[in-house]
């Protein structure tokens, strides 16, 4: 395994981790798998595409000549902001009306919202694939046998920064404290005068913003967008969230990186077509010995079915 592969693993791990965080945050407070999250990532990538096209258009027209770095930051922030509304809408439509219903019913509405987003995208934009415009010029650094692009480094660094910011938010702010409290005792928190709905909406917004960021970062490396791009990566990030431990923030991050590494490793050591087979067998094996994930705790006592 070369250092090259380490970078690839870190990059894919960043994608998985950013998306897995959304699954984990929602799970930790609602005990619910947000099956529409992969498609929120997809919508995020498309929002990124439109924002990028608009910003680049404005920059090119000479009205507001921006350096590429500023353009990129602008696109990223705007996309995260707009994608968070997608998450809030999903919560409002699919999850809030079913908050007291059996959790499996909410899982079905989540799946259906996902299908709706995919098909809606297909209906609105047509079947042709879209290409994400290059925001930053790709520079390849060569250091002995290793070649790394600046985009790869940017992805990894930014993902880590975002995760750090999220952690700060959850640990240091009052709302973050409310989130943590809800993950400990869902029923007691409203009794303390915490506006439950607001906390839940914010959780969805934060998770979706991270998915939006993942969408932009992903499209910068793999610029061809299609409506079903969120399907597989979403399910895999879901597996990553579980692997790390349901509802654990650190677990989601590490689960994402571990899954990314396992996949890259398997592809490097064996035939790449065996990637899913071996990677998921390893996941299955890990979960056999650690049923609650690597960093998860046993919740069974307070499962709300």
């Amino acid at each position: 395994m070369s250092i090259q592969q380490i970078f690839n693993g870190l990059q894919w791990g960043s994608f998985y981790a950013l998306i897995a965080l959304g699954y984990s945050m929602v799970y930790s407070i609602l005990m619910l798998f947000n099956f529409a999250h992969g498609d929120v990532f997809m919508v995020g990538a498309y929002i990124g595409l439109f924002v990028a096209t608009a910003v680049l258009g404005i920059a090119a027209s000479g009205l507001l000549p921006l350096p590429p770095a500023v353009t990129f930051v602008l696109v990223l922030v705007l996309t995260m902001f707009l994608t968070s509304f997608v998450g809030m809408a999903v919560e409002r439509v699919a999850y809030r009306p079913l908050r007291d219903a059996p959790r499996a019913s909410a899982a079905i509405t989540g799946l259906m919202v996902g299908i709706f987003l995919e098909t809606g995208n297909l209906a609105l934009l047509g079947a042709s694939r879209r290409t994400f415009p290059p925001l930053i010029e790709t520079v390849t650094y060569t250091l002995g046998p290793i070649t790394v692009t600046n985009i790869k480094i940017l992805t990894i660094v930014l993902a880590l920064l975002l995760m750090l910011a999220l952690n700060l938010f959850i640990q240091k702010t009052k709302t973050g404290m409310a989130m943590r409290a809800m993950s400990v005792d869902y029923a007691a928190v409203p009794l303390m005068g915490v506006p439950m709905d607001r906390v839940i909406v914010l959780t969805f917004a934060l998770g979706s913003a991270l998915a939006g960021a993942a969408g932009v970062l992903f499209s910068m490396t793999y610029p061809v967008l299609e409506p079903y791009m969120g399907l597989l990566i979403g399910w895999k990030a879901f597996v990553a969230a579980i692997l790390g431990g349901r509802g654990s923030i650190l677990g989601a991050v590490l689960g994402g990186f571990i899954l990314g590494f396992i996949e890259i490793l398997v592809a490097a050591l064996f035939v790449s077509t065996l990637r899913d087979l071996i990677a998921y067998s390893i996941v299955l094996l890990i979960l056999t010995f650690r049923p609650y994930g690597l960093f998860g705790e046993e919740y069974s006592a307070r499962l709300r079915i």
Binding site: F33, V93, A94, P97, L98, D100, A101, P102, A104, S105, A106, A107, I108, T109, L111, M112, V113, I115, F116, E118, T119, G120, L122, A123, L231, W235, F238, V239, I242, R246, V271, T273, L274, R275, D276, L277, Y280, S281, V283, L284, L287, T288, P291, Y292, E298, Y299, S300, L303, I305
Partner: protein, 425 residues
């Protein structure tokens, strides 16, 4: 309002189910004899495949013609024959034992559906796929409903069953490039098909064992993840097996899965699962769902109960997969992806948990919805999710969650003599 309903109900009062089925038989015969003529006279392009609903969606101007067709072809013959035979069948039905009662109704149902379906090869195909969906949904209900876990492995089990039974059939009865010439005379294919299906189901159950053993040590959402990984693993494994076509798929399945075969298997599956859920084992399964510790205290071997329910689910899903392979005549790994599981889950939760009639209803509604909305093309997948979300919001437990559908006003009450209700399905 209530009075009007009562009058409306009186029209149907006392007509036993058997009479309605006889009416259906009459309607199917009428359609067979004069359906085409009537359709042409009304200006339709042919016999409407599924009650003309897709015709209406394609061209709303056809609504009157379709309505007249439905009235003349279905509503009138069904009602008239049902009314006319009501007294006679009621007398007959009350004398039957439960076993004969169910048998007669199943045979009648088969005749109606087959007679109606055979007129149109597209109808027949959809009916067969519908029957397969019914098996899948009911068997998944065993785990997600009666057992109270959340499994998404149904596509994986289907895949295993489909491939194993296809391999057996192609190896045995078809001259194939990979598996060589037929080992047995191809005329015997239909006889061997049940064994191939059974083998497929068994293979699915054996792979399910690998999932079941680690899964049932813990409760909660663990099974959801394990089964998800299982679907990925099966798909990837099949893609890497070159001798069965890998990602290109596998075809050449002999044409042995006609409607009667599929119907018999569906009836068998429903019968087995119905008996399973009303057996001690089934009751124990529900007990584990409601309170595992209490069940354990009542000497229920919770681990065994869970494994048996899960393996039964796997077996029937495998059988359904085998049927699917032979109905379509072509399978590839992507037809058994997570999307297939999501579809069956949607059918299940639409119909409702822990309910056999609910599963049947869910499968029928979902499949029909997706056939009827076909003219909408892409928008179909915008409408179906919205319908399901609305149903879930207003009926979070599904249409028939935790109860069975009964039509007391259709029964001429044979139940009092026998002492217990006959199966309504």
């Amino acid at each position: 309002m209530k009075g009007r309903w009562a009058r409306f109900r009186r029209w149907f009062q006392g007509i036993p189910v058997a009479s309605w089925l006889l009416g259906g038989l009459a309607a199917a015969t009428v359609e067979r004899l004069v359906g085409l003529v009537v359709a042409y006279t009304l200006g339709l392009s042919g016999i409407p495949s599924f009650f003309g609903l897709s015709l209406i969606l394609a061209n709303p101007a056809q609504i009157p013609a379709v309505l007249v067709y439905l009235l003349v072809m279905y509503a009138l013959p069904v009602y008239l024959v049902a009314r006319a035979t009501a007294a006679w069948t009621a007398r007959l039905v009350t004398r039957m034992s439960t076993r004969t009662y169910v048998f007669v109704h199943v045979v009648l149902l088969f005749l109606v559906v087959y007679f109606w379906g055979e007129l149109d090869s597209y109808r027949l195909l959809v009916l067969r796929l519908l029957a397969i969906s019914i098996i899948l949904t009911t068997s998944l209900n065993l785990v997600n409903g009666w057992m109270g876990e959340f499994s998404v492995a149904v596509a994986g089990f289907m895949s295993v069953g489909a491939y194993v039974s296809s391999i057996v059939m192609v190896w045995g009865f078809v001259d194939d490039d990979v598996f060589g010439p037929a080992v047995f005379p191809p005329t015997l294919a239909s006889l061997a098909f049940p064994f191939a299906l059974g083998l497929g189901g068994m293979a699915a159950a054996i792979t399910a064992l690998a999932v079941a053993i680690p899964s049932f040590r813990t409760r909660g959402d663990y099974l959801a993840i394990i089964t998800l990984a299982y679907v990925f693993i099966v798909k990837s494994a099949v893609e890497n097996m070159e001798f069965i076509g890998g990602p290109r798929g596998f075809m050449n399945q002999p044409n042995v899965a006609g409607f009667p075969v599929v119907f018999i298997w569906t009836a068998l599956a429903l019968w087995v699962i119905y008996n399973y859920t009303s057996s001690t084992l089934g009751k124990a399964t529900s007990a584990v769902r409601d309170n595992e510790s209490a069940a354990e205290a009542m000497t229920v071997d919770t681990r065994k109960v869970k494994v048996v329910a899960f393996l039964t689910h796997a077996f029937w899903s495998g059988v359904a997969g085998g049927l699917y392979a032979h109905v379509i005549g072509y399978i590839n790994p992507s037809s058994f992806g997570i999307v297939k599981s999501a579809e069956v889950l949607a059918m299940l939760y639409l119909g409702g948990l822990s309910s056999i009639t609910g599963s049947v209803l869910g499968a029928v509604l979902f499949q029909m919805l997706s056939e009827i909305l076909r003219p909408l093309q892409l928008a179909k997948w915008l409408v179906i999710p919205v319908v399901l979300i609305v149903v879930m919001i207003f009926r979070p437990r599904g249409l028939l969650g935790f109860r069975e559908m009964r039509f007391p006003f259709l029964q001429p009450r044979p139940t009092e003599e026998v002492g217990y209700a006959p199966a309504s399905d």
